[in-house]
Symmetry: C2
Amino acid sequence: MTRVHEIYPDGRVSLREVGLRDGLQLVKTFPSTVAKRRWIGDEYAAGVRHFEIGSFLPASTFPQFADVRELVRTVAELPGAHGIALVLNERGVNEALASGVAEIASVVSATEEHSQANAKRSREEAIANIRRLCEWRDASAHRPIVHAAISMALGCSIAGPVDPLEVIRIAEKCFAAGADVVGIADTVGYAGPKQVGALTEAIVKMSGHPVCVHLHDTRGMGIANASAALDAGARILDGSLGGLGGCPFAPGATGNVVFEDLVFLCESKGFATGIDIEKLVAVRAILREAMPGEPLYGSLARAGLPACKTSVAA
Amino acid sequence: MTRVHEIYPDGRVSLREVGLRDGLQLVKTFPSTVAKRRWIGDEYAAGVRHFEIGSFLPASTFPQFADVRELVRTVAELPGAHGIALVLNERGVNEALASGVAEIASVVSATEEHSQANAKRSREEAIANIRRLCEWRDASAHRPIVHAAISMALGCSIAGPVDPLEVIRIAEKCFAAGADVVGIADTVGYAGPKQVGALTEAIVKMSGHPVCVHLHDTRGMGIANASAALDAGARILDGSLGGLGGCPFAPGATGNVVFEDLVFLCESKGFATGIDIEKLVAVRAILREAMPGEPLYGSLARAGLPACKTSVAA
């Protein structure tokens, strides 16, 4: 069994809290490092094991991630917990490798238009970066997992519809470059479940590697899309507590799939997540306190769990 | 082709606006008849054809439905539009038949506990009422469609989990009693998509009749459940504009599935609804004006439709 299958066991659903990175990309108030540590610690106590904790970007531009190294240590100290950090350029890769973070995510845009506009590089250059990252991983002592995240994989804010065959080709190239995991992201929440299911199934069947599906709830399809991704064989899904994280291309829109609702979905489909929903919902208090201006979404927090009578009506 | 297949054509998705009945069950401010007529008229202009418009209950207890007869006429005057009203007792049945409403819905609880607590009658008595309603339908000149709605079909606020075989037996009895349509309702929003899909598929396969799926978004599963119901063969789905309609058993929880998001889901799955989402979203202004204190939900209204570029990224 390779290392990636220890972190993301086959047949088991792994739910990743991305609120500490994707969720903080656009917020106005940043939680303190102390608040982030409580957030991680309390979610860990609720059963969460996978945390995207920040990115190695210039702290001058993204001060909310200035404490990423401290959070790498926070997660590393929790038995069985797994930390993930995002990188964009070579400097960030070197810093991430030096930090000892367990998983490094690097982005490739699904469309050339978005790649040039967002990262000022071609998709081929982005894939070359992943290849280089994998070489450094192989030369490292701690061998972090390399995650190639394909943004705009289900619709692009610049190019519009995205050809799924193109995404499949990019995924193939990422795996060929040495990526351990490929992520497909509905970055702007354009897709419905049919499209998510079809793309997920194609990449799961093609690769045999773990596939992560990263969904935004921009148009209310988040949970339905997650359900379709699970049906199609994805076993790694991203979400953020309270749906934290807006969308720069749809002001006022909701952000990532609501983590606690995602847990409910998985459990309702018979996938044990190991996460206690009521304990998870209670962690929202930390976010409310640390970011009083940020709207939190989610239905479980409002409605609570169904009444748990075990008797079946005659 | 029987009448019911004209109203709910096979293979085509029919989306029913239930906000004027289920959506108004718990609101504090009631829209005026004029506002309701604008609501119906503007949704009709957006392409909606199926409207649940009220119930024949004592106006002293449910003053919000006192104008149901006028709304029956409003809908009847719109070519191709179809009005639905709810009844609970024999007096209501007679009034509904006399009103000429095109469809009469009568409720059976999935559990004996809920039937006794909510309607003070057994489930067998509720089914006997449907049988009598069908006899009257057959003796009537306009032959309204009879809809047997099975409440708590996916979980009961009193009995907890509900045995799907029990719901299937009740559905069989309703069809045997002469019902044209059977509805399965997740009244308290307990279910996930796996459960909804399995029950829907069983009843669709068993009956050959149209099956309506009525979902609440209490725990955020509404759209995912609707997607599963469509996959399982249901072609009639209920929703309410802005998700109007709370849940008496979960204070503060969202209500029916958001109608406009449901349209987006169907279209994304390749089911043409005939409904213009932007025109539909614009109708929310009528609800906001008529019921300023009621929260409206929904993602399409916040985020808008995806950018509609037709070019596919190279």
